[in-house]
Amino acid sequence: MSAAAVARAAGERLAAADAAGLNATLHWSQPLLDAEAARVDAMPAPGSLAAVPLAVKDNIVTTDMPTTCASRILEGYVSPYEATAIRRLRAAGALVAAKANMDEFAMGSSTEHSAFGRVRHPLDPDRVPGGSSGGSAALVAAGVVPAALGSETGGSVRQPASFCGVVGVKPSYGRVSRFGLVAFGSSLDCISAFGRTVDDAARVLSAMSGHDPLDGTTLDRPAMPVPEALPDLRGLRIGLPKEYFPPDLHPGVAAAMQRTRAVVRELGAELVEVSLPHSAYAVPTYYVVAPAEAAANLARYDGVRYGQRRVGPAGDIHALYQATRGEGFGPEVQRRILVGTYVLSAGYYDAYYRKAQRVRALIAGDFRRAFDSGIDLLLTPTTPTPAFRAGEKTDDPVAMYLADIFVCAVSLAGLPALSLPVGRSDGLPVGAQLIAPFFEDERLLAAAGALERSVAADAEVR
């Protein structure tokens, strides 16, 4: 099939998704899709992603479409340069089909915090698709695109992947360049991949990966090859961290994990209970570190350099900054900027930020000790519940933050992890999370490929 034909079919699916009210896209057009296809059809050797249409979260910069981060403050902003990940995916033959809706500046767990309206869950429009990369997850789950880019700061790909029943992979920190990813929490941010299958996501990740001189935190190691799925899990020791299986786990999630454990055992792996005691503090640690970094990173949106500008009543420069930011940022972004500024302010820095950085080291140390003891991978639920109803948590920020309770610690430790669909509870997908040691992304994907073949992702549990 030519790229031109793929682009036409992708355009029809995008239009149908928009017409159905999914609200998962922020920018796309058939002429741009056709131009992408003409570029790929003219490539002499298009590469590993020849004519694969991808959706891209709207916080990854592209030069042919706006990049708004789903925020009024960046409405209409078009980047003068392209993200390294996008440049590499295009060089591999991928078609950038659409920019996907998201929680504003990637702050949220439900994609209800978009300035351009909430994204609907593809299986139940009254529920959320997860977040913050909810638009990308919904587009893959709805079959609009086979794969998509999201970004993770504290679980923003694995959590929506779990809610939507697709694969979501967060690479090791430093494996994929952050150049061109709009900064939120720079010590946490990772461009990550969604796929209908582990192999789809692995191909996207492989094409994006590798050292980039434009991002000083990428490791100077070669790009990740696409790993072959293992035939089984024999010889692997898989740890079950007891803190991730609390007694009040949603019964559907608990049943799906019980069935997954049985499949893992049938595939020949040894299951071992382990302890990650400091993971209990992952969410509070995250909600100090990430807002602190966000408060610094989002200082650049002041009405002078980017996007929208409002002139305040006093008419001076501070009034311009304050009015632009006060009207341009939505409530969740404002809350996080205020929390971040508070925890970094004189008198509170040691009590909150320094303390959180120390606890972060303890959380990472727990993982290191588990892997050093001979554990090859860890297995946990991705989320404590299946997708929740829209509006259920919007008035309670802490309740919303707790939706990320099983995914935050991995982000704080910089490890590779993925969410794999492992069953349905009352029709809603349930995801299992696999976690690997730092830079063992290939081991993670190869093992997930074996599990994917054997687990009944679409079968009801209970």
């Binding site: 490791l219 304050q322 006060g326 809350r335 205020l338 500024t341 120390r358 606890v359 920020p397």
Partner: protein, 99 residues
Amino acid sequence: MSIGRDEVVHVARLAELAVHDADLDRLVEQLNRIVDYVAQLDRVPGDGAGELFLPGPREVALREDVPGPVPLTRPPGELAPEFADGFFLVPRHGAMEEP
């Protein structure tokens, strides 16, 4: 620890954020809830002298501190209509005249 209205106004000023009076009570309540929640970090044992976290291996965070050229995304010649011998060529605005 509890955050009052004055503190929220002060932090908003530090963050260059205009906060409307009508939103203040809600913000005070939500920020207190968040700060109370993260305060549980005080329960983590330790004397506060532990190591701070660096993302990734130390080779990334603590590489040689040697300044070098910063690679540009595009060569400078693409940033202006005319570029020669390491200089951007601009239209002549006028000439210095002898008094």
